[in-house]
Symmetry: C2
Subunit: 303 residues, 2 copies
């Protein structure tokens, strides 16, 4: 099977951990062990990953040095594809004893410049501020800001991914048995100009939505979305919470889920299942078990 595996930000960095190189590497090593299990089970593998905390950190570092020369989100996204891709590639190659080639491919992802998300930025990036400080920074840097609990944060547009131009290169590598790390952070956000050229844009693409698009366009057999929760729950956080082991896409669409982290995963899983593939959601260490129906939540095509 060709398996596309999306590593959530929480799979690469536990909540509250400092974002040092050492911490990230330790978590990536842990993730690489789970990924190696998928390869050893005989599958071809494409790996995508989140970059929320990392892109926030790079923005903070830039602002701490020269705030008026801050880099736009497409460039910061490309930096995180380099940094995170490198760590995953190296750890996975080491665990696989360099038996299988692993390649990290920078990936641009095209969004529609007229996507309504550009008029309504909703995706939080970077740290929380008191309202006054957030407003001062917003004015200086041209940010949009929004309340997050009783604090304020920068928000950026999160438009839908519509095209992955690097798909043909990716397919070439997969045809030759290469394990590919790509579409990091949902991909480097770009729009198409009138002349067909690509240009970067200030946005953050949802990693799960981009991974579902990638999996569909590659004709993958399975899409795994790995996080720190062991599946989709009915009544999550209540006494009667119940992990759902198998759902059809229609059943999954009917669930009421918190918008924070699980809802976008389930939406992406449904999109992929509706195109005929097997989608799975669960913990990193359960990756193979989810594929085999022994853990997590499987979302399958409606029959």
């Amino acid at each position: 099977m060709l398996v596309v595996t999306a590593l959530g930000g929480n799979a690469l960095l536990e909540r509250g951990e400092p974002l040092t190189a050492e911490t990230q590497r330790a978590n990536v090593r842990h993730a690489a062990e789970a990924l190696a299990g998928i390869v050893r089970a005989g599958h071809d593998l494409v790996i995508t990953h989140g970059n929320g905390p990392q892109v926030g950190l790079l923005a903070l570092q830039g602002a701490a040095y020269k705030p008026d020369e801050a880099y736009p989100l497409d460039v910061l996204g490309a930096e995180t594809e380099g940094m995170i891709g490198y760590m995953i590639e190296q750890e996975l190659e080491n665990i696989l004893d360099h038996d299988r080639p692993v390649a990290t491919l920078l990936t641009q992802v095209v969004v529609d410049g007229h996507d309504p998300a550009f008029a309504r930025p909703t995706k939080f990036v970077g740290p929380v501020y008191d309202r006054d400080e957030a407003e001062t920074r917003a004015q200086a840097a041209g940010w949009s800001i929004a309340p997050d609990g009783d604090k304020w944060r920068r928000v950026v547009p999160s438009p839908r991914p519509v095209e992955i131009p690097d798909l043909r290169v990716l397919q070439l590598l997969l045809d030759q048995g290469v394990i590919v790390i790509c579409t990091g952070g949902g991909g480097i956000p770009v729009v198409r100009r009138a002349d067909g050229g690509l240009v970067g844009i200030e946005a953050v693409i949802d990693k799960d939505a981009a991974s579902a698009l990638l999996a569909r366009q590659l004709g993958a057999d399975a899409l795994l979305m790995l996080t720190d929760v062991d599946g989709v729950y009915r009544g999550f956080g209540t006494d009667g919470a119940e992990r759902l082991e198998r759902l059809t896409a229609a059943e999954a669409r009917a669930l009421e889920l918190p918008e924070g982290s699980m809802a976008p995963k389930v939406r992406a899983a449904c999109e992929f299942a509706e195109s005929g593939g097997l989608a799975g959601i669960g913990r990193l260490q359960d990756a193979v078990a989810i594929l085999e129906g022994r853990g997590g939540t499987q979302i399958r095509p409606d029959t």
Copy 2:
């Protein structure tokens, strides 16, 4: 012909220019036009690039935010491969009207952990300081420092590149007609552990040396090192300065050259010419002319 083209730091950023995203992009666009000329002349193309100013900037940004959580040079190098690779890929694809696939591949380059360079760091990274400040920072961060003119700077080891593990993936892409951007900044510096695994190390690999190794191992026909000087000169900076149009490797080895920027290029060119290829040194905009012997300096195998 298969042409490996190494873009010097000075080809991507004019001396003294600010390192903003806009400035870099404008310079990359200019470089991409020259690279497109090589493709239009009918050649296959691999692009490498320097990262000196960029890796220095990322180190400064990190230090400005949280100095005690500064990232090591392998991770920073991976970030610059993402950032610079993205800009080159996008600009080149746009100029080529998306007719030819262009891919950016993260590249680790192995050095010998016993390389004498580790005992004698010589490569300047980051900004200049007064001696007192340099010593304070060196003590806090475990840097080596050295005088640069009447100021002081951090110095890091610059070991010789010995192996490029990603070569087989790179070859797969070239076999399919893909233009590949790789080995940015001389590659992400790694050493082999006793068990064969790879691990990052605090070093900076000379881009020209890594590009020559890459060109040899790929069996490339030509290696072009592009900079802001129009060739190799006898008596550079004197009244009788004379550009040398053609040299054998032996003639080039006999030249006395300033160690700063031209000497490593000529050494790398000689290594490649001695393995049977055509090496060229000159300005970005003369890339095709250098290949055709109408500009820059050609260094050819000894006959």
